[in-house]
Point group: C2
DNA sequence: ATGAAAGCGCTAACAC
DNA sequence: GTGTTAGCGCTTTCAT
């Protein structure tokens, strides 16, 4: 069953059927109606591949993320998909697991499917792998990455705004010994958050003790390990700022095991504000970076670039603000925290 | 740049290029090599739409889930996608949000893209909406649903096995007053879990107090509300079995607010074993239903059905077992639980 | 306003 | 073993 069948039964040409389907205004309403009723009757659905082939437009956007199982991403995927569908686009989703091989394979598949644009949400992955896409002039949108370039948009996150609020919140709560657990520092976004922390501390005359700055992995496990290191150190922080919420959840887990109470013995702040943050116990104070807004920005960037006839040589920049959201995991520093001895002591 | 261009430069016909690309063994290795080197040189990527159009095979599977933001699903998506890619399939993902309109639109888009099969992971959504797919003889795989039918596979979850273990575990811990918070009962899967609970209780001569059985929504919020109702009731349970992990997390949240300690005052068991279950505080004892296995089963069901020449009239059945995994949220019942007065008393 | 017909890039007969 | 060619189902000139 194809367009010819419809044409025959509606006693018009295939061209008219096509026009009717695409709602070209010039078709005689009478005919259009006849066509539509045949379409309904037969349950005809146009073949997207054929349309794409002849029109040269796949109506597919690629969306590359690092891990769908990382709670940060599902909301992005959801919003991105929802908007895409509203615009009659399909999305081709891929989790790279931060593996360059996956990334390369994904890029290849996307090119083969002739995606019209790709949003890269890996926060700092090797741009090199995307050469093929650039070569083919596919619009791209990144977060936090690389130099401006034609048809490449960038969403810059204003980390400083939210992180400054977090640091000042902690300072107002009389915390001086503030630790920072970063993400993997090869990620631009992780490095940027760390710098924002350092800057915010200095700004208000607080010393960021290097011994209180440790690298994590943006995972719960990483948070557990990193907090362990902190506990092994000479100075015990009274507050910890984490580079993302998963890390903060790791800290909370470890604190639970060690009998350290949050927020009475230790204040904890996360970053991202994933949905779960409000449901952990205690609810996590965190710096929000709206995943929904990020998705919206990315989608619109792609669409805009696609509509532009002469792409600006430098691409376009977008900005996303961050801000602190207060919940239960922070409290005024206590002068005599009851920090029990560790169950598993540091190596002798 | 197309197959003709490659053909010209390699001084062969397009047919030979096509054969080389598809690794048809009959082509002269010499020629094949020449073709491949031209392909590499020019960075040629075949056009999937054209291939799909002529071959009649889209190499796309649909995957319908209820909510990607529900932590139960990301792992399914990840595994399903990984396997799909290994088999040179793309996946077309859609979250229906349990909204029939979305579902209908998604089905339509899938048909338009000519998916070769669809996995429906909504655990009991209206089958009616899928008529169009069945009409077009697209292989389908469901979880927990409907009557056997040609080209429709079913994955039956053996709820009883895991839930029986959970109930007996609780009983062994001397709990008698065991509450059950179900999922939305219009979902087959929720109803099935409830029945498994009832059966397991009866089996060992424990009375399932109707006042201790309340309906939830399979969400954290639902868990909070449901546990609230339980607290308002006359008999206070010493243990709660939840229809999924999110519900259990809601119970934990509510317990935290009410000053009820888990597991000392109350034992809690979840269902699903989402990844988060091991990281909540305390780590959640739960009945595991492997999301990875579910994804694998679903994918293979589709692939198998596709390869079958004469589909069995009744479709195929697969089974997935569940089993209890012990963690920190259950404990021997305490005779005198220190259950503090509620902060927000029940309505007078 | 409508129709005839030429492709979009590829695969698969069929011929050699 | 390789080439020629007829489509796959649709959109889009170009006539009319």
């Amino acid at each position: 069953m194809d367009i010819r069948e419809i044409a025959k039964r509606a006693r018009v040409s295939t061209a008219t059927v096509s026009r009717a389907i695409n709602r070209i205004p010039t078709v005689n309403p009478q005919l259009a109606k006849r066509v539509w009723s045949v379409i309904e009757e037969l349950g005809y659905y146009p073949n997207t591949q054929a349309r794409a082939l002849v029109s040269g437009r796949s109506r597919i956007f690629g969306l590359i993320i690092s891990e769908i199982t990382n709670p940060f991403f599902p909301e992005i995927v959801q919003v991105f998909e929802r908007i895409a569908v509203q615009h009659d686009y399909e999305i081709m989703l891929t989790s790279t697991g931060n593996d360059p091989t996956h990334m390369e394979a994904a890029v290849r598949r996307m090119i083969e499917r002739r995606v019209e644009g790709v949003a890269i949400m890996t926060f700092g992955m090797e741009e090199v792998l995307l050469e093929d896409l650039k070569l083919r002039k596919v619009p791209l949108v990144f977060v936090d990455v690389g130099p401006p370039r034609a048809r490449v948009s960038n969403i810059r996150i204003d980390y400083l705004h939210g992180i400054r609020q977090a640091v000042q919140h902690l300072a107002a709560l009389r915390h001086h010994k503030i630790a920072f657990i970063s993400g993997p520092l090869h990620l631009k976004s992780a490095e940027a958050r760390k710098q924002a922390f350092l800057g915010s501390m200095e700004e208000i005359g607080l010393e960021a003790d290097p011994a209180l700055i440790v690298e994590g992995t943006h995972t719960i496990e990483g948070g557990i390990v990193a907090f362990g290191k902190l506990l092994d150190g000479a100075t015990r922080p009274t507050a910890i700022l984490c580079s993302n919420d998963m890390t903060a959840m790791g800290v909370m887990r470890k604190a639970y095991e060690e009998g350290i109470r949050i927020p009475s013995d230790l204040s904890v702040i996360g970053f991202d504000d994933i949905r779960l943050a409000q449901f952990v116990l205690p609810a996590l104070t965190t710096v929000q970076m709206s995943q929904a807004d990020l998705a919206r920005l990315a989608f619109n960037a792609l669409l805009t670039e696609l509509q532009r006839e002469t792409p600006s040589a430098t691409g376009t920049e977008y900005t996303l603000k961050t801000h602190l959201v207060l919940r239960e995991s922070t409290r005024l520093v206590s002068d005599h925290p009851k920090t029990p001895a560790r169950k598993t002591p540091a190596r002798p």
